[in-house]
């Protein structure tokens, strides 16, 4: 079964808009029955090597962000420091236990990247229809 996500529209400084594929997700600690966050927006980003979330969300869960394993990542703006933590990511089709990066410098709530998201979904970006289609992959 697949789901179709209409692109979400955001304003641009000085006028105009931009559109991108966004999925509303929750995260939680991996402990059994750990409470989830409220839903938040995460951009589907094939350019991200793993899922990244703003540290503010991790702190809300009780994570001590700077105690995570350090991972420096290289982006268009240079090198950024992230801290890795194991979390549960709630996605269409069920929860995924993943290792995600957390950063205070992320300008948005979250990014769904290759490791943790794209390895669980077939993803089709259709800019002509302004939508993204997701199909969960369940590996044996």
């Amino acid at each position: 079964m697949s789901i179709k996500l209409p692109y979400k529209i955001s304003p641009l400084h000085g006028g105009g808009v931009s559109a991108c594929a966004v999925l509303n997700v929750n995260i939680a600690l991996q402990a059994k029955n750990a409470p989830r966050t409220k839903r938040f927006e995460a951009i589907i980003d094939s350019g991200a090597s793993r899922c990244l979330f703003h540290s503010s969300i991790g702190r809300f869960l009780g994570l001590q962000i700077e105690r995570g394993l350090v991972e420096d990542t290289s982006g268009i703006n240079g090198i950024a420091r992230t801290y890795l933590h194991d979390i549960a990511l709630y996605l269409p089709g069920g929860v995924a236990n993943i290792r995600a990066g957390f950063s205070d410098d992320l300008p948005l709530a979250g990014l769904l990247g290759m490791n943790g998201f794209f390895d669980r979904f077939k993803v089709v970006f259709d800019s002509t229809a302004q939508q993204c289609e997701l199909e969960r992959i369940f590996q044996a």
Partner: protein, 66 residues
């Protein structure tokens, strides 16, 4: 031709920058604002919305390349 609905853009254009924003379940209204994710979540509950969608606004609305 695809028609882009700019309602959401108009809504966010009026939101404070570099903040956490809680939207109503149908994402058509801002129900709470906070300096942190937790503050926005708590303020949303205070506003009577238990199932918001939270997002972070940037310091300036620019095209993303993250």
């Amino acid at each position: 031709m695809t028609v882009i609905n700019t309602t959401r853009a108009d809504l966010l254009r009026g939101a404070p920058l570099d903040s956490w924003i809680a939207l109503s379940k149908d994402e058509t209204a801002i129900v709470a604002i906070g300096a942190t994710f937790g503050e926005a979540a708590k303020n949303s509950e205070r506003a009577g919305v238990d199932d918001p969608v939270i997002l972070k606004t940037p310091k300036i609305w620019l095209p993303l390349s993250v």
